[in-house]
């Protein structure tokens, strides 16, 4: 369905755009039909940047993104519109998507005008009702309300319903549940999973690992814009290999186990070595070598469907 090939994003920063910030570095992975892939990493690791490149909200600096074998960067006009019919994004803060002056269901009428002007109003209303019901809402309770009259979870489900109306095949879900309560979170996750069984593919961006574990078949662990570990979710969680993934796992607050006494390395803003391993400064692995500072390790398969970029699994 979606194939990401060696994409890189460099932002120009500094007052005159004089500094380069490589937010995403040579990332490749693909997402199959009806699959949920988690993209996991700490704040600033480049997760949203990848999501935005897929949605063409920003350009790629290099590399290619293919949707059903078509190069997304080459889509124009009607082709691009067609793309957005199938590929949609839902973002972290549902409130910011809505204009407080208008009723929240305006997002549906805008969609109607923009994509389906030929459908009569009565039929469209039926479709909206069906979409709302399939995200677990009673149209009578939620339509005709202003954003502040709805909860974050309800607004978030509106956006998912909107994606459903568009015949969405691929959804970029960027931290869509971090704003929601525990009990609402599970409703939204279950909904995504039900939609997956009907063929939807999802890039599920999160920094909450337990959510990623719950819902996804495969996971991509991102650190400073680079993929450090990738593969079947269960394999990564049961057998994390990269020192960064191991640190992450030890920090996840769990309900079945107390935190172990491991020190969290807090050095956050240290300069990066130009071409060494992205995790070099924070790494405490027993396998750490001098060469890690100069040579970035490539992804190596450590077991079927589980690859890691660290010198510890080179040989």
């Amino acid at each position: 369905m979606l194939k990401i090939e060696d994409i890189t994003k460099t932002y120009k920063t500094g007052t005159f755009g004089g500094k380069d910030l490589k937010a995403v570095k040579n990332v490749s992975f693909d997402i199959h039909d009806g699959e949920i892939v988690s993209l996991i990493g700490e704040s600033g690791s480049g997760k949203s940047t990848i999501g935005k490149m897929i949605l063409r909200l920003i350009s790629t600096t290099s590399g290619k993104i293919y949707f059903n074998d078509k190069d997304v960067s080459l889509l124009k006009d009607s082709e691009l519109k067609e793309y957005y019919r199938h590929v949609q994004g839902v973002f972290q803060d549902p409130f910011s998507t809505y204009n407080p002056i208008f009723k929240a269901d305006r997002i549906f009428s805008v969609l109607h005008e923009e994509f389906f002007p030929h459908i009569p109003a009565s039929e469209w209303k039926g479709r909206v009702d069906t979409a709302l019901k399939s995200v677990g809402m009673n149209p009578a309770h939620v339509l005709n309300k202003f954003p502040h009259q709805l909860s974050g979870g309800q607004l978030q489900r509106f956006l998912i319903a909107r994606a459903l109306l568009l015949d969405t095949k691929f959804l970029v879900a960027d931290e869509i549940i971090s704003m929601l309560d525990a009990s609402t979170r599970i409703d939204v996750l279950n909904l995504l999973s039900d939609l997956r069984s009907k063929g939807l593919s999802v890039l599920f961006i999160t920094h909450d690992l337990s959510l990623g574990y719950y819902i996804s078949e495969r996971a991509v662990i991102l650190y400073k814009g680079s993929v450090v570990e990738i593969g079947e979710t269960k394999k990564i969680f049961d057998n994390p290999v990269h020192p960064y993934t191991r640190m992450l796992m030890s920090c996840v607050p769990r309900l079945d186990k107390k935190w172990q006494d491991v020190e969290v390395e807090l050095t956050e803003k240290k300069p990066m070595t130009a071409n060494g391993c992205v995790f070099y400064e924070r790494c405490h692995s027993e396998y750490k070598l001098d060469e890690c500072a100069h040579q970035s390790p490539a992804l190596v398969e450590v077991e079927p469907n589980h690859s890691v970029a660290c010198v510890c699994c080179k040989g």
Binding site: E42, S43, G44, S151, G152, Q154, L180, D181, A182, S183, T184, R185, I186, D187, L189, N190, S193, H207, D208, L209, S210, L211, Y213, Y214, I215, T233, K234, F237, M247, L248, M249, C251, V252, P253, R254, L255, D256, K258, W259, V264, E265, L266, E268, K269
Partner: protein, 320 residues
């Protein structure tokens, strides 16, 4: 006994009427206790915390008394509360780390704060540096602006500032929710460290992330729609909750090891009531799977076992 609260009731005055955000809360907190406060968004956690420190409009004091270390806090009088703030009771407000004045260097911020409390910055500076070391920040941060710090660093800085004058009680409102897992762990463990080093006597740790509370809190108090539902030791709340709401809440939490393909978790059907015109009696009533006629009256928050408090007609009776 460090903190004792009796029948605390706080509303918000709005043009549409009173929002009954906290209703007859009575509980206490022992010396050395870290009490987690959990519950859905809008259930009144921040209202509880904010009312104890700076009760201002549109918040309205309705009734109730608050005692800290045996002394009554004049919470309804913001002037009279002044001598207590920072010295006896201190808060890390929700969103504090984003509310730091962007035009002031951190050191200047600390200096201004101390001055306003009648303290001398120069005298306290060595202790400031000690505290920074405790939270693994270099003294250099005093010369920096807030935007130069990452989220985790800012949150640790806010922790240092709010505990500088060794308050007896620290109210920490969602201090970990905006951080990623490694910073969350660090910040949560530092809070525990502050208690262990007796910088603060007790902590009210507010969050809707219950797995963080499992790692750090001694007790957990669960709120629902402005009412207290249950308070007990952390182990009891997680492993043997009694309140129907707590039970549903705990069973809806995904944790590493649980996958939807093997174990599909269930949410809680329905939505919490609006607090403008909340239902009478137990506010969980219309979502509660075991509600019965009696629930139209407000269930009292009673101690059903040593240290285990519960407000539920069904469960309270069954185990009385």
């Amino acid at each position: 006994m460090s903190l004792k609260i009796e029948n605390l009731t706080i509303y918000y005055q709005t043009i549409a009427g009173n929002v009954r955000a906290l209703e007859d809360a009575s509980f206490s907190l022992a010396d050395g206790e870290i009490m987690g406060v959990a519950g859905e968004s809008g259930c009144g956690k921040s209202t509880l915390s904010n009312s104890l420190i700076y009760l201002h409009a549109p918040m309205k004091y309705i009734r109730g008394r608050v005692f800290l270390d045996g002394e009554e806090l004049p919470i309804h009088d913001t002037q009279k509360m002044n001598p207590f703030r920072y010295k006896k009771i201190s808060v890390i407000p929700q969103y504090a780390m984003n509310a730091m004045n962007p035009t002031k260097k951190i050191g200047r911020m600390v200096e201004d704060l101390l001055k306003s409390r009648g303290e001398n910055y120069k005298e306290i500076l060595p202790e400031v540096k000690n505290r920074l070391e405790l939270v693994k920040l270099s003294p250099d941060v005093l010369n920096m602006y807030p935007f130069e710090l990452s989220g985790g660093m800012k949150q640790r800085m806010v922790m240092v500032i709010s505990t500088l004058l060794d308050p007896s009680l620290l109210l920490a409102d969602e201090v970990t929710s905006a951080l990623d897992v490694s910073s969350q762990k660090a910040v949560a463990e530092m809070l525990v460290g502050f208690r262990d080093k007796k910088i603060v006597k007790s902590i009210m740790l507010i969050t809707h992330d219950i797995s963080i509370l499992y790692q750090t809190a001694n007790t957990i108090m669960v709120m629902y729609a402005g009412q207290l539902a249950e308070k007990a030791s952390t182990e009891t709340i997680i492993k043997a909750p009694r309140h129907p709401y707590t039970k549903l809440l705990i069973s809806s939490l995904p944790t590493v090891g649980v996958r939807i393909s093997e174990n599909r978790l269930a949410g809680i059907p329905g939505n919490p009531p609006l607090l403008l015109n909340p239902p009478t009696g137990c506010r969980f009533r219309d979502r509660c799977p075991v509600a019965f006629a009696k629930c139209a009256e407000v269930p009292p928050f009673v101690e059903i076992e040593k240290g285990h408090f519960l407000a539920c007609w069904k469960e309270g009776k069954a185990h009385a």
